[in-house]
């Protein structure tokens, strides 16, 4: 039997909409770059209104768990103010009006060889380039690397792209396999793993062929079963190594480190080209989009520009998602700009509306069968409805990775993930309250 993870679902992929569209450059007139692009502390802006900036110039940085952000176009700063971000909240953004010259920052210098660089120097380069996990969560890559040093025996490269609709990683693997391989080589050089494996879902045969040709012999290529959430970090680790990341633990706890293929390419760009993370591949797709496409979009490209470049809407949009349909965040307008972890903009039309007005659980247990974390969603939902914190804690609601498999499979159409998000917040608030109480004592 092919190695696998627990549960999972098989939603229709809809990758055919955009998988043959090459990654085309897009040149927005204005970009709105959020100061908080990653898990951790937001950056403090280093530029002010009226400043001239160049591509790759650092415009924000901070202390602690924080990586810098850079200007993605050259031009003038026209605003430093809170603006809507894809996460649904407002956040401080630096807004740059492009001069359409794309003048590179003079500090950017290519490197011919990386042989003399130490692991620490390489990690520092990765931090300065502002690289974060580009598959979604956006964990600072340098922190991931340094926390894994000495503990990691297996490096896993994530090319699964199991989320429906999205094709940005697929295209990247087809179009820039050498750069991805170069990035993986740098990670290998830093972490010195015994095993390096790239996992790609079987349905991306062109990407598999392209990567196979580019990968050196000491790297494995695994063709993975097409099943969502194959690309979730814990599930990918389980598939590749058979190991299970303990509750609340990091992959390093089981000797693994996982990097997305787009992150690998960003590492290559940072180390060899000297170019910080200023643009990324973004898929613009969905039933409501006239010409589903893939773009190489500067960070902060407004969603309206992406939609326009993809031929506009072919039907009235019903939902617009930052990301894909399983884990994407629904947007209320097109005014946000792209962020580093933003792999797609999925636009649904009314035909994709599956909402059930008053769902009733029929206890079919289909949520339980598909949960990749082996939770019992129906019991957790019951506890969440009652606000029963003890039952929620006992049910391990904090283990939920919010992949959406249960809610996808629920015949009653219960918004289970929403329920668990609320439950997690209740638990966290309660724990904070307890801590505060103890501190007073």
């Amino acid at each position: 039997m092919a190695p696998s993870f627990f549960g999972g679902v098989h939603p229709r992929g809809f990758k055919e909409l955009s998988c043959e569209a090459p990654i085309l450059p897009i040149r927005p007139k204005v970009v709105s770059i959020a100061m908080s692009q990653h898990i951790g502390r937001p950056c403090t802006p280093l530029v002010k209104l009226g400043d001239r900036v160049t591509v790759g110039q650092k415009i924000g940085d901070g202390e602690g768990l924080c990586v810098p952000v850079h200007a993605s176009v050259s031009g003038t700063v026209i605003a430093v103010e809170p603006r809507p971000t894809p996460s649904g909240t407002e956040g401080l953004c630096v807004v740059i009006e492009s001069d359409m010259q794309d003048t590179l920052c003079p500090d950017i210098q290519k490197r011919e060889s990386v042989a003399e660089l130490t692991p620490e120097e390489l990690t520092a380069i990765i931090r300065e380039a502002g690289i974060t996990g580009m598959g979604g969560a956006g964990f600072p890559t340098n922190v991931k690397i340094s926390s894994g040093m000495g503990k990691v025996d297996t490096v896993i490269i994530n090319g699964a792209e199991c989320e429906p609709y999205i094709t940005s990683d697929d295209r990247l693997m087809r179009e820039a396999p050498e750069k991805i391989a170069g990035g993986i080589r740098i990670i290998q050089k830093i972490l010195q793993p015994e095993r390096t494996a790239l996992g790609i879902e079987k349905n991306k045969s062109r990407a598999i062929a392209s990567m196979r040709a580019a990968l050196p012999e000491d790297m494995e290529l695994l063709e993975l079963r097409v099943r969502y959430p194959q690309g979730a970090e814990k599930q990918l680790i389980q598939t590749v190594t058979g190991r299970q990341v303990p509750p609340g633990g990091l992959p390093a706890a089981v000797g693994c480190a996982v990097f997305n293929v787009a992150t690998c390419k960003a590492i290559y760009d940072a180390v060899y080209e000297g170019l910080p993370l200023v643009r990324r591949a973004v898929t613009v797709t969905g039933r409501a989009i006239a010409r589903p496409s893939n773009f190489l979009a500067p960070i902060g490209t407004p969603y309206a520009d992406l939609v326009e470049a993809a031929g506009g809407f072919s039907s009235e949009p019903y939902k617009i998602l930052c990301g894909g349909p399983m884990m994407g965040i629904a947007q209320h307008s097109l005014e946000c700009g792209t962020i580093k972890g933003n792999n797609a903009l999925t636009c649904f039309s009314q035909a994709d509306n599956h909402e059930v007005e008053t769902p009733h659980c029929i206890r079919c247990g289909k949520c339980l069968d598909v949960c990749p974390m082996r939770l019992m969603p129906l019991q957790m939902h019951k506890a969440a409805q009652k606000g029963d914190l003890l039952a929620l804690e006992k049910g391990c609601v904090m283990d939920c990775i919010e992949c959406g498999s249960c809610a996808y499979n629920c015949p009653a159409g219960i918004p289970l993930v929403q329920s668990f998000r609320t439950a997690k917040k209740m638990l966290r608030d309660e724990q904070a309250k307890q801590k505060a109480k103890e501190a007073v004592k």
Partner: protein, 333 residues
């Protein structure tokens, strides 16, 4: 070019949903019951169809009426009331008066299902509870089984000289039924409207398995337990395998094991719990059949097990992710 985006819906992920729905599942159960209905019409005449239709319509009406009256959201369209209605008809004699089955419908939908909160909230299976309720009219429910091949009038069922002993009654006397095993399998026997044809019920069961509406866990555990107990403890000096096959093919066992014990709401959700629940149903069925006052044990066996699912759900709770012994180092393929 249109890049207008007004009236966007904002909601929590996931934004995709499988095509499955409660209505699709319940409709599948109805489809799976069609072969047994055809068999019933074949053996008992058109009254089998009219009684089933009246019962289904009655259940849907009561479901709609109750929710309307109490100003709750309408669930009459989800096919679950149809399933209950058809099942109630299936476990009644074909000669049952229409008014009686409508009372049974009312009992099942309002008292057993809606008063507990409606779909998904009831403790026991509404159809089986209705049958237990109907036993208050023993003259209508037992001892008046219509012989197979008797075409009952659609309007005024008169039973003079048309009743027969069911195979189950023979088994209760510790004798093998007079009908052949083939008759039992095809359904050329007396009994409740929808339970007679084992072949038709099995066909429906295969459909449910293929459509993934049910898993084999509960039916196999249930039927397997009955089979094992019957083989181990045959009565009346009969051959143990003949005895076992007659037990399996008689009465409401197949209908119960495939369509009633697998009812989502009143059965456990964990895999081990489902197996234990099926075994429990089997043990109780045999105990009731061997030592009970009624000849049939399936109704009460399932009803009693329904009340225990809180316990069965605690069995076989999946092991928490990440708490297994870690395989360190060696990469495995």
């Amino acid at each position: 070019m249109n890049i207008e985006a007004t009236n966007l819906t904002v909601s929590s992920s996931p934004h995709a949903h499988s095509k499955n729905s409660t209505a699709v599942i319940m409709r599948d159960v109805c489809i799976a019951l069609v072969p047994a209905l055809i068999a019933a019409v074949w053996f008992f005449g058109w009254r089998a169809l009219t009684l089933t239709m009246v019962s289904a319509a009655g259940c849907v009406f009561f479901e709609w009426g109750y929710r309307k009256l109490l100003k709750k959201d309408c669930t009459a369209g989800d096919w679950s009331a149809v399933v209950t209605g058809v099942l109630i008809a299936f476990i009644c004699p074909v000669s049952l008066p229409y008014w009686t089955i409508l009372i049974a419908d009312l009992f099942a939908i309002v008292l057993v299902k809606q008063l507990f909160g409606g779909i998904g909230m009831n403790i026991v299976n509404p159809a089986l509870a209705a049958r237990a309720f109907l036993f208050s009219w023993p003259s209508l429910m037992s001892g008046s089984w219509v012989a197979s091949g008797t075409r009952i009038s659609v309007l005024s069922p008169s039973l003079d000289g048309m009743t027969t002993a069911t195979p189950l009654a023979a088994l209760a006397e510790n004798t093998l039924p007079t009908e052949s095993l083939l008759d039992l399998f095809l359904g050329r026997i007396g009994g409740s409207l929808g339970e007679v044809s084992a072949a038709a019920l099995l066909l429906g069961g295969v459909y449910l398995l293929v459509r993934k509406v049910i898993t084999p866990r509960i039916p196999l555990a249930y039927l397997g337990t009955v089979a094992v107990l019957a083989v181990l403890f045959p009565r009346g000096g009969n051959d143990c395998f003949d005895w076992m096959l007659c037990q399996l093919l008689s009465g409401g066992l197949l209908l119960g094991a495939i369509f009633m014990a697998t009812d989502y709401t009143t059965s456990p959700v964990t895999h081990l719990g489902q197996i234990a629940y099926g075994v429990g149903c089997g043990v109780l069925t045999i105990l009731f059949r061997y030592f009970g006052a009624y000849v049939e044990g399936v109704t009460y066996a399932i009803l009693i097990m329904n009340c225990c699912i809180g316990f069965f759900d605690k069995l076989g709770v999946p092991k928490r992710f990440g708490l297994v012994k870690q395989k360190k180092g060696g990469a495995e393929k």
